[in-house]
Symmetry: C2
């Protein structure tokens, strides 16, 4: 990162934001602002709730177990990212946490775990993933938090797919065109296409054959090396944002 | 990942490879092949050493504490990636491990830690990072292992920079052109440019001013959100490989 960003600490709150409104921090947030960021009473915090934009909050009163402040002015208008939806097969805990955090940084609109034939992880803690997404949104400056959907089986997902939206899948067979070529040329109707990344070990042969029969599925090639699932997530979303998304 | 790759388990060995040569596995490798992959004596392993290509090794003799096999045929010729060199400010342990593994998957030629003003991590375990790179190479199918250089100070690095090679830096100020625009247009002389990613908190103001005076430094923009150092590594290398590197 080249720039030193002189920015306020950012926290998400689950309450309305308006002029002079009293903002209530959670115990963890009060601890973070007081003991980690070492903010005094004259400091300020940037606060957002996902729909009222970003507010400067001052007149801080940070105690050990609770904290308060007063919203003084709106510093950014509300905006939502218009990036791709991401469907991902849950992998190991650390890698899944990573997928959620990085997809948030890279502007995914919503995330949903997909259970495929080779998916090893039976249980997914959606609540924990939602907290990861919120923390990543705080850090990367997003004003909205991507929704983490409940896990869905691959067949069920595909059976109810909205035909107007493309579903882009990374293909390791070497038979697809390069990501850049396809993403540069893809037609976008109402919103960005969705991306889907399979588990370690990929999709099964049956799944693959089925996926290739679907008119909304588009496969892309992500180079000659075998990428881990979490790397493929970052690479695919980067390719989109850099060519057709909000980096372009 | 779409494809189910039917590939042999891959391991790196530090010995010559030639027809009928006896291949000696380490204790950890023998354990992995015997108890994790559950290979029998009639199974085969793909083995590489960084310079003799990839060999099929059969006639396995896997014991609890040691393992052997016989190299039967070369299955791939030696090749080296021609991707960018990566200079990175070491961050926290997990994130640094991640940077090394992902840069290996994404075809970085060599990696070197750079100590900048805001770099928090004093000590870098180069040996451990080299092991990470080797494991990532085993998994992603690379036949070479990126060298991890010893840590170097930013000023020292820049003072001995070869002028013919560009050094590309992610710029968070919003003043640079988009990564795609710059990478599509950049002139490449002998080999790929190098990339450098700063620590959490970025480069200092003094470092920034100095960097911008250097004729070989090129800054790129990686979008409107603040990326973590490890995300910026994956994003920058992806942009390169997808447009000018071996994904194109």
């Amino acid at each position: 990162m080249v720039a030193m960003v002189q920015s306020l600490p950012r926290v998400y709150v689950d309450q309305p934001l308006a002029p002079d409104i009293r903002v209530i921090f959670t115990r963890d947030q009060a601890h973070y602002l007081r003991d980690v960021m070492r903010l005094g009473t004259d400091a300020a915090v940037a606060v957002f709730n996902g729909h009222d934009g970003e507010w400067r909050v001052g007149q801080l009163d940070l105690q050990r177990k609770a904290g308060f402040g007063i919203a003084t002015e709106q510093i950014r208008n509300q905006s939502s990212v218009s990036g791709p939806d991401l469907f991902f097969a849950p992998v190991k805990k650390t890698a899944t946490d990573f997928i959620v955090a990085k997809a948030t940084e890279l502007g995914a609109r919503a995330l949903r775990p997909v259970i495929t034939e080779f998916t090893h992880t039976g249980r997914v803690n959606v609540e924990r993933l939602q907290i990861n997404a919120r923390e990543a949104a705080e850090q990367c400056g997003r004003l909205d938090i991507p929704q983490i959907g409940s896990p869905i089986g691959l067949r069920e997902l595909l059976g109810s797919w909205p035909l107007a939206q493309s579903l882009i899948i990374a293909d390791e067979t070497g038979e697809s065109n390069s990501a850049m070529k396809i993403l540069n040329e893809i037609r976008v109707e109402n919103h960005a296409p969705a991306f889907m990344i399979g588990p370690q070990g990929g999709f099964s042969k049956t799944e693959l054959v089925f996926l290739r029969t679907l008119p909304f599925v588009i496969t892309i090639d992500l180079g000659p090396r075998i990428l881990r699932a979490e790397t493929a997530v970052v690479a695919a979303l980067t390719c989109w944002q850099a060519t057709r998304g909000d980096w372009a």
